[in-house]
C-alpha cells in the first residue's frame, strides 16, 4: 500500500505506551477531520464530529492504553523472569563445571563482605546505636566542660557533687542524673572476697535515662540520701552469672566495699547506663560515697571531681541555654579558686551526645574502629576487583560461546542480565561465608580487642544481616556488571572466528588497571598496619618515668571504718609497713614501698618557697605531692639525679626533707641549685629542705611527663598510705597472684587487697593501638594476599592468551631468559605503579591518621620502605611461575594447538 519511512528501527527506541496511543488517536482525528472538511464541514465542526465518531476520547484512550500496559508489563516481566531463570541455571551449571573458580570467588567475596559485616557490627554498637534501655535517647545529653585541666586545655566530664546540685536548678534541664565511672569494689570479705564492677549513680540518673528495673525497682531519691538504708540494683548479666537469674534475689544483702546493701532490683539485659562498659552493681551515689572515700568532702567540696552528669532536655535550644546557665553557676561558685589561680575562669559548660564516641571525648578505640570500617571497605574493593578480574578472564575465554548465543538471537541485555545475576548469586554465596566470618571474627575481635564494652548477642543482629545482604548484592553487581557488559559487547565476527583464544588479550587494560588499584590499596593498608604496630610498640614501651615492666600495684581495704576513712593514719601506715615486710618474703619480689597517692591520681597541697614569688599552682601542672616510704624510688624505677633519696633516718622527728622532680627544680629555681632550697608545705612554718632531684614521671597517662612533683617522707607528712608498689624480678602477673593471698590474710584488720600488675592497669590505654595494629595487620595481610593472587592470575592468563605469540617469537629465536624477564618486568611494573599510587594516598591521608598514632610519624620512613619492599618482593614472587611458563613455551606445541 502506501510507501512509508520507518521511524523507529528497534523496539526499545519507542516512547511509552501512553504517548504512542496519543499519537495514534491524534492521527485518526487529523485524518477524519480532513475527510469531513472535504465533505463540507467547517474545520471546528469537523474536529468535533471526528471526536464524536471516535467515541468518548478519554474512555477509549484509557481502554487502549490498558491493553498496551498489560502487554508491556508482560513482555518486560517475561524477559526478566527468563533472564533470572537462565542466570540461575547458568550459575549452577558453572558451579558444577568449575568448582575451583566458584570457590575462589565465593571465598574472596565472603572474606571481603565478612570483614565489613564484622566492622559494621562494632561501629554500630560504638557509634550508631544509643545505649540500651534509654528512653528517647535523642533528648539525653552529657554534660562536659572545656577549660584548663591538669595543665592543659581539656574537655572534661568530671564534676563535683555540688556542681550536680547546681545543675538541678537549671530550668532548661528537665532532669539531671549523676554517675561515676566504673570502679572495682570488693564483694564479700575474707577468703571468698571478689571484686565487682560498680557504678555509683544518683536516683535521678535512672529517671533521666527513663530506665526501669526489669525485676523489682531502682532506688528512690529518698533512698539516695544521707542516713538512708543501703540499697543496690544489680546489672542483668551479673544477676544471671552470680545468682543464676534467681528472682528471689530481691531482699538479699550483699557486702560491697565493707558495707551491706539490700538488693531491690535487677536492670534489664544490656543496660549499662550511658557508657558501654559492663556494670555489675548500681549503688546510690550519696549512700555509697564511702566506698570511694570516707569523708563528706565528697558532698560539699568543689575540689573532688568524682561524678559525671547527664541531662534530659526538650530540644537543642534549651540544651544551649541550659549550658550557659550552668556555666554561670559553676564558675561563680569558684570565685575563690579562680582568684587563687586554681581554676580557669574561662571554663565553659556544654552538652554533648549521649554516645561518647560521637562527642568531643570520643575514645581512640571508637575512632580506630571507624577507620577500620573504612579499611574493611577497601578490602572489599580489592576483593571485588579480583572477582571482576576473574570474570573478565572467564569472559575472554567464553567469548566464542557468547558470540554463538548472540548470533542465535539472544539479546545483549538478556545476556548482561544473565551474567550479572550469576555474579550476584555467587556474591550471595559469598554472603553466607561472610556471615560465618562476621560471627566468629566478630566475637574474636570483641572479646580480645574491645573487651571493655558489653556486647549483646552473637554479632549477627538485624542491622548486620541487612548490611551483609546489601553488600553481597552490591559487591556482586560491582564485580559482575562491568565484565558482563564487556562480554555482551563483543565483536561477533572476530570472536566466532578466533574462538576462545583471542590474540589481543581483550580486557587486559582494564584488568591491569584493577591489578594496579589492588596493589595501591594493599600498600595503603599495609602502611596503616605498620604505623599502628609501631605505635603499639612505642606505647607499650613508653617512658612513664616509672619502670612499668615488672611492677605490681596493691592497695589494702580495712574492716574498721576508722582505718578505711584514713582517720587513723598511724595505724594505716603501720599496717602498710607490715604489709611491705610480708610481701618482701614472697618469691619474686625484689622491693616494695608505699605511697599516699596511688597510681593515676594526683594531689595538690599549699606550698610556698622563699624567693619564689608566685608558685604556678594549678590542677594541671601541680606541683603534685607524693608522701612515700624509703625505697620508693628504686621500687618504682625513678632515678635520683642529684642529692639523695628518702632514707629510714628521715623519721617524724628528724629534720623535714623533700625531693623535687626535674620539672619542678627547673621551674622554681631556673638559675639556682635546687638542693638546699626551702619549701613550706601545707602551711607549716618549718622549712622542708630539698635534699634531692629525681627524674620526671607521668601521673599514669602514657603521654604525660610534664607535671611538677615533689616527694616527702610518709613518716613526716603523717598522711595515710593508700597504695603499695612491688618490684618483681620475674613475670609480674605471676608475682601478683602470689602477693594477693599474702596481703589478704596477713592481718585481721585487712578485709581485702586489690592487686594488679601495672601492665594490666595500663592495658586499656593501649587498647586502641592494639586494635589498630591487629586489625590493620589482618586486613592488610588479607588485602596483600588477594592482590597477589590477582596479579598472579592476571599474568598467568596473559601468558596463556599470548601462548601463540610467544611460540612464534620463541620459534624466531627469542631466548627463554628474555621471555622470562619480560613477564617478570610486566608484573613488577604493575606492582610498582600500584605502590606509587598507594604511597601518594598514604601521604594525603597522613594528617588524618596522625592523631591516632603514638609518637609515630604518619609518614614514618621505615614503615614506608618496609611496605614497599614487601609488596615488590611478594609481587615479584607471584610473577615467577607465569614467567617460567612463558619461558618454557614449546614453539611446536604452542603453534600446533588450533
Amino acid at each position: 500500500m502506501a510507501p512509508r519511512r520507518r521511524l523507529f528501527r528497534l523496539g526499545f527506541g519507542r516512547p511509552g505506551p501512553g504517548r504512542q496511543v496519543d499519537w495514534e488517536i491524534e492521527h485518526y482525528l487529523v485524518e477524519q477531520t480532513e475527510r469531513l472538511m472535504a465533505e463540507g464541514w467547517t474545520a471546528e465542526e469537523a474536529r468535533r464530529e471526528a471526536e464524536r465518531r471516535f467515541g468518548g476520547l478519554a474512555r477509549q484512550r484509557r481502554r487502549i492504553v490498558t491493553v498496551d500496559w498489560t502487554e508491556h508489563a508482560m513482555r518486560t516481566g517475561a524477559a526478566w523472569w527468563g533472564g533470572i531463570r537462565s542466570g540461575v541455571a547458568q550459575a549452577i551449571r558453572r558451579i558444577r563445571r568449575s568448582p575451583g573458580f566458584v570457590a575462589g570467588i565465593v571465598l574472596t567475596l565472603g572474606l571481603g563482605i565478612g570483614v565489613n559485616g564484622t566492622m559494621f557490627g562494632i561501629v554500630d554498637r560504638l557509634l550508631l546505636r544509643p545505649p540500651e534501655g534509654v528512653a528517647h535517647p535523642e533528648q539525653v545529653r552529657r554534660i562536659l566542660w572545656r577549660g584548663m585541666w591538669l595543665g592543659r586545655q581539656g574537655t572534661i566530664p568530671a564534676l563535683t557533687y555540688s556542681d550536680v546540685v547546681d545543675l538541678r536548678t537549671v530550668p532548661q534541664f528537665l532532669s539531671v542524673g549523676a554517675f561515676t565511672s566504673t570502679r572495682r569494689l570488693t564483694l564479700g570479705s575474707g577468703e571468698g572476697a571478689t571484686e565487682v564492677r560498680a557504678v555509683l549513680a544518683t536516683a535521678d540518673f535512672f529517671t533521666t535515662l527513663g530506665a526501669h528495673a526489669q525485676l523489682g525497682r531502682v532506688y528512690t531519691t529518698k533512698e539516695d540520701g544521707i542516713g538512708a538504708v543501703s540499697t543496690v540494683v544489680l546489672g542483668n548479666e551479673f544477676w544471671r552469672r552470680r545468682f543464676a537469674g534467681d528472682p528471689d534475689v530481691l531482699g538479699r544483702t550483699l557486702e560491697i566495699a565493707g558495707n551491706s546493701y539490700t538488693v531491690i532490683g535487677v536492670m534489664p539485659r544490656g543496660f549499662t547506663g550511658v557508657d558501654l562498659t559492663p556494670v555489675d552493681v548500681w549503688l546510690p551515689a550519696v549512700v555509697a560515697r564511702h566506698a570511694m572515700d570516707s569523708s563528706d568532702r565528697f558532698l560539699t567540696s568543689r575540689g573532688y571531681y568524682w561524678l559525671q552528669a547527664v541531662v534530659r532536655v526538650s530540644d537543642e535550644a534549651s540544651a544551649v541555654a541550659g549550658s550557659a546557665a550552668a556555666t554561670a553557676l559553676i564558675v561563680n561558685a569558684r570565685t575563690d579558686q579562680v582568684r587563687r589561680g586554681q581554676y580557669d575562669a574561662n571554663t565553659r559548660v556544654f552538652t554533648a551526645p549521649l554516645l561518647a564516641a560521637r562527642g568531643p571525648r570520643a575514645s581512640a578505640t571508637s575512632k580506630v574502629a571507624l577507620w577500620l570500617a573504612g579499611v574493611a571497605l577497601a578490602v572489599l574493593l580489592i576483593a571485588c576487583a579480583n572477582v571482576a578480574n576473574l570474570f573478565l578472564a572467564q569472559g575472554a575465554r567464553r567469548r566464542r560461546e557468547v558470540a554463538v548465543r548472540l548470533s542465535l538471537g539472544v539479546t545483549r541485555s538478556r545476556l548482561v542480565a544473565e551474567l550479572s545475576i550469576e555474579a550476584v548469586l555467587l556474591a550471595g554465596l559469598g554472603g553466607v561465608v561472610a556471615l560465618a566470618v562476621a560471627r566468629w571474627g566478630g566475637s574474636l575481635i570483641r572479646t580480645l580487642l574491645i573487651p571493655d564494652v558489653l556486647w549483646q548477642g552473637s554479632g549477627l543482629d538485624g542491622p548486620v544481616l541487612a548490611v551483609t545482604a546489601a553488600l553481597s548484592v552490591g559487591a556482586g553487581l560491582l564485580a559482575g556488571l562491568g565484565p558482563a557488559l564487556r562480554s555482551a559487547r563483543g565483536n561477533l565476527n572476530r570472536d566466532l572466528l578466533e574462538g576462545g583464544r583471542g590474540s589481543s588479550a581483550g580486557g587486559s587494560p582494564v584488568r591491569r588497571g584493577l591489578t594496579v588499584m589492588q596493589a595501591a590499596l594493599s600498600v595503603v593498608l599495609l602502611v596503616g598496619a605498620g604505623l599502628f604496630v609501631r605505635s603499639l610498640h612505642r606505647a607499650a614501651n613508653a617512658d612513664l618515668g616509672l619502670d612499668t615492666n615488672r611492677l605490681v600495684l596493691a592497695s589494702l581495704e580495712f574492716n574498721d571504718p576508722a582505718l578505711s576513712t584514713t582517720r587513723d593514719a598511724a595505724e594505716v601506715n603501720r599496717l602498710y609497713a607490715e604489709a611491705i615486710q610480708r610481701v618482701r618474703s614472697v618469691p619474686g619480689v625484689a622491693r616494695a614501698a608505699a605511697t599516699d597517692v596511688p597510681f593515676q591520681s594526683a594531689m595538690i597541697a599549699h606550698l610556698t618557697s622563699p624567693g619564689v614569688d608566685s608558685l604556678p599552682v594549678s590542677p594541671g601542672t601541680g606541683p603534685f605531692y607524693y608522701s612515700v616510704t624509703p625505697g620508693y624510688f628504686r621500687t618504682v624505677g625513678l632515678r635520683v639525679l642529684r642529692g639523695r633519696a628518702i632514707l629510714d633516718s628521715d623519721g617524724a622527728s628528724a629534720p623535714k626533707v623533700a625531693l623535687v622532680n626535674e620539672n619542678m627544680a627547673r621551674t622554681l629555681w631556673p638559675t639556682k641549685q635546687a638542693l638546699g632550697q626551702c619549701l613550706y608545705f601545707d602551711h607549716q612554718t618549718e622549712c622542708t629542705t630539698v635534699v634531692g632531684v629525681v627524674e620526671n614521671a607521668s601521673t599514669g597517662d602514657l603521654d604525660d611527663t610534664g607535671a611538677l612533683a615533689y616527694y616527702l617522707p610518709l613518716s613526716q607528712t603523717g598522711y595515710a598510705a593508700e597504695g603499695l608498689y612491688v618490684r618483681t624480678d620475674r613475670d609480674p602477673e605471676v608475682v601478683a597472684a602470689a602477693v594477693a593471698p599474702v596481703l589478704r590474710s596477713f592481718s585481721p584488720a585487712v578485709r581485702y587487697a586489690q592487686v594488679q600488675s601495672l601492665g594490666e592497669i595500663l592495658a586499656p590505654q593501649l587498647r586502641s593501638w592494639t586494635l589498630g595494629a591487629s586489625l590493620f595487620t589482618a586486613f592488610g595481610g588479607l588485602a596483600l594476599l588477594v592482590a597477589v593472587v590477582g596479579l598472579y592470575s592476571l599474568l598467568a592468563f596473559e601468558v596463556a592468551q599470548r601462548r601463540r605469540d610467544i611460540g612464534i617469537r620463541s620459534a624466531l629465536g627469542a631466548s627463554g631468559g628474555r621471555l622470562l624477564r619480560e613477564t617478570l618486568s610486566r608484573g613488577t611494573a604493575l606492582a610498582a605503579l600500584g605502590t606509587v599510587i598507594g604511597l601518594a594516598i598514604c601521604l594525603l591521608a597522613a594528617p588524618y591518621v596522625q592523631q591516632l598514632l603514638f609518637h609515630t610519624d604518619a609518614r614514618d620512613p621505615l614503615v614506608l620502605v618496609v611496605v614497599v619492599g614487601v609488596l615488590l618482593a611478594v609481587s615479584g614472587l607471584a610473577s615467577v611461575p607465569p614467567a617460567l611458563r612463558s619461558a618454557r613455551t614449546d614453539p611446536m606445541e604452542a603453534l600446533r594447538v588450533e
Binding site: 500500500m1 502506501a2 510507501p3 512509508r4 519511512r5 520507518r6 521511524l7 523507529f8 519507542r14 504512542q20 496511543v21 499519537w23 495514534e24 488517536i25 492521527h27 485518526y28 487529523v30 485524518e31 477524519q32 465518531r53 471516535f54 467515541g55 468518548g56 476520547l57 474512555r59 477509549q60 481502554r63 487502549i64 491493553v67 498496551d68 498489560t70 502487554e71
Partner: protein, 114 residues
C-alpha cells in the same frame, strides 16, 4: 488456545481486520477503518475508537505487528501488518467460516424443499 482459534474472537471485527491486512500490505489505523467502512457500508463499527482497541488487543495476541512510520501525507502514523500467527488464525477462521457457510448451504435447500 491455538487449537480453538475461533473462541477468542468476540466478534467479526477482528476477522475483518485480519482480512483487510491479509492482502499483505501495511496499513495505518485510519486506512483500515476506511476500508472496513466501505466494505461493510458502515454497518459494523459504531465507534471508531473500537477499531483501535481491537488493533491493540490483536497486537497483544501477536496476530498483528506494528511499527511507526510516516504516511503518504507526511504524517506520523502507526502501521499494522498481519503476523504469521495472524495468518494462521485467519486461515483457520476462513476455513471454519466456509465450512459453516457450506453447512448452512446444505441445510437451506432441504428446508426450502419442505
Amino acid at each position: 488456545m491455538r487449537d480453538t482459534p475461533l473462541s477468542p474472537i468476540p466478534g467479526t471485527l477482528e476477522l475483518l481486520i485480519l482480512r483487510t491486512l491479509g492482502a499483505g500490505s501495511e496499513m495505518h489505523g485510519f486506512a483500515i477503518l476506511e476500508w472496513i467502512h466501505q466494505s461493510t457500508d458502515d454497518a459494523l463499527i459504531v465507534e471508531d475508537g473500537a477499531l483501535y482497541h481491537a488493533l491493540h488487543r490483536m497486537e497483544r495476541r501477536r496476530w498483528v505487528d506494528s511499527d511507526w512510520g510516516i504516511s503518504e501525507k507526511g504524517r506520523r502514523a502507526r502501521y499494522y501488518r498481519i503476523s504469521p500467527e495472524g495468518r494462521r488464525v485467519l486461515a483457520a477462521e476462513e476455513e471454519r467460516w466456509s465450512r459453516y457457510v457450506e453447512a448452512v448451504g446444505k441445510i437451506a435447500p432441504r428446508e426450502a424443499g419442505t
